[in-house]
């Protein structure tokens, strides 16, 4: 097997796609990556003193953890709201009665939405499809409207959570936590590495 084939097979992985799918997947993984990488980059800065590095790296790690917690707290309910909104009010949702008949709750929709082009066996059971059946393009486009509603609600809740609530909460919550942990140095006036993004 050539390197190209190995890489292609790896990239075509269904499990990887299922876990990283959607806006929530992107936000969770990128936030977790930031929480892991940025404190390390800050700590490797040779020009800052030890205490400053410890303080800044600790604060950055705590901030990203706070963002992660907020993501789970806000985006999951927003996705369910998006699904309910689409199912109840979306015109095509009503027209797509056949597709949405078996999808009673959000968890069922998540199983169907994993891959609309190649349904899993669970998804087929939920949709009442046979083992070899596939969805018609019309059904796929209707289910994508429902998916779009879920994604739009995730999008808005991520932005509100991570750009407004996280910085505001950070100002209030991080100082006491850092004091409790023993990181109480005043913030340095200038840092070489600013990784707060």
């Amino acid at each position: 097997m050539s390197i190209k084939q190995v890489v292609s097979n790896g990239l075509a992985s269904k499990n990887f796609n299922y876990k990283t799918k959607g806006i929530m997947g992107a936000v969770v993984f990128t936030t977790a990556l930031r929480a892991a990488s940025r404190p390390v980059v800050i700590y490797k800065d040779k020009k800052a003193d030890e205490e400053t590095k410890k303080y800044t790296a600790g604060k950055e790690f705590l901030y990203q953890m706070l963002s992660l917690v907020l993501t789970f707290a806000m985006v999951n309910p927003a996705k369910k709201l998006g699904f309910s909104f689409a199912k109840k009010f979306l015109k095509d949702g009503k027209v797509a009665a056949e597709e949405l008949k078996g999808i009673k709750k959000f968890d069922d929709f998540e199983k169907v939405n994993l891959d609309l082009d190649e349904l899993t066996s669970d998804a087929k059971k939920i949709l009442g499809k046979g083992e070899k059946e596939v969805l018609s393009p019309d059904s796929i486009s209707k289910l994508k409207l429902v998916k779009g509603s879920v994604e739009l609600f995730s999008f808005v809740s991520s932005i509100v959570g991570l750009t407004i609530i996280a910085p505001a909460l950070g100002n209030v919550v991080l100082h006491p936590i850092m004091k409790a942990v023993g990181l109480t140095k005043n913030e340095p006036t200038q840092q070489k590495v600013d990784t707060k993004a």
């Binding site: 990239l11 689409a86 109840k88 979306l90 095509d92 429902v146 509603s149 991520s158 750009t163």
Partner: protein, 187 residues
């Protein structure tokens, strides 16, 4: 149908375009990371400037740094997934269209994660000269301001010659006008 239901249906019709866009887009990760960077570039500096625990100079530099970081991040969040997608389309293309779609989605996701790792290093290169230039400019401004204040204080005092003169004559002797009167405000 009630009025609320009619309104909901009208709103849903209007939102359908947005739902279709989000439902069919392959660039969800790129969109959310760019949007987050854009909003963070606006809101984090605002929160930083409103932090009462830090001194004004520190807050100003921190806010500029945060805005600069997000401005550097946005093009990287667009470029790396795009490059990853192109790599899949041109180099790793498969005969199965479903596999292609999945490969493109996974590659773009990996590209987004790569951008997260690259951004601090790019900031390390780009930010210091810009922050140094801003600091230099601020210091030059301060120096010029303090020079202006000093030059005003150094102006010669008016000379009043005390001659034993009649009251009418002495009252007509006015002090010499100060050339630079008052403090210069701003630049």
């Amino acid at each position: 149908m009630t009025e609320t239901q009619k309104f909901s249906e009208i709103m849903c019709d209007k939102c359908k375009g947005a739902f279709k866009f989000f439902g069919e887009s392959e660039n969800g990760a790129t969109m959310i990371t760019c949007a987050l960077s854009a909003f963070k570039g606006i809101f984090r500096p605002i929160f930083t400037l409103n932090d009462k625990k830090s001194d004004p100079e520190t807050k100003k530099y921190a806010a500029i740094r945060e805005c600069l970081t997000e401005m550097i991040a946005i093009p990287l969040y667009i470029a790396t997934p795009w490059v990853a997608g192109k790599l899949v389309d041109n180099v790793l293309k498969s005969s199965n269209p479903i596999d292609n779609k999945r490969m493109r989605a996974n590659a773009k996701f990996i590209g987004t994660c790569a951008a997260v790792l690259i951004i601090p290093f790019v900031c390390n290169v780009v930010q210091p000269p810009i922050m140094a230039a801003i600091k230099e400019h601020e210091e030059a401004k301060k120096a010029k301001k303090s020079l202006d204040v000093t030059s005003v204080a150094d102006v010669q005092q008016p000379v009043v010659i005390n001659k034993p003169a009649t009251p009418i004559v002495s009252s007509l002797q006015k002090p010499v006008a100060i050339a630079n009167s008052g403090m210069r405000v701003g630049n």
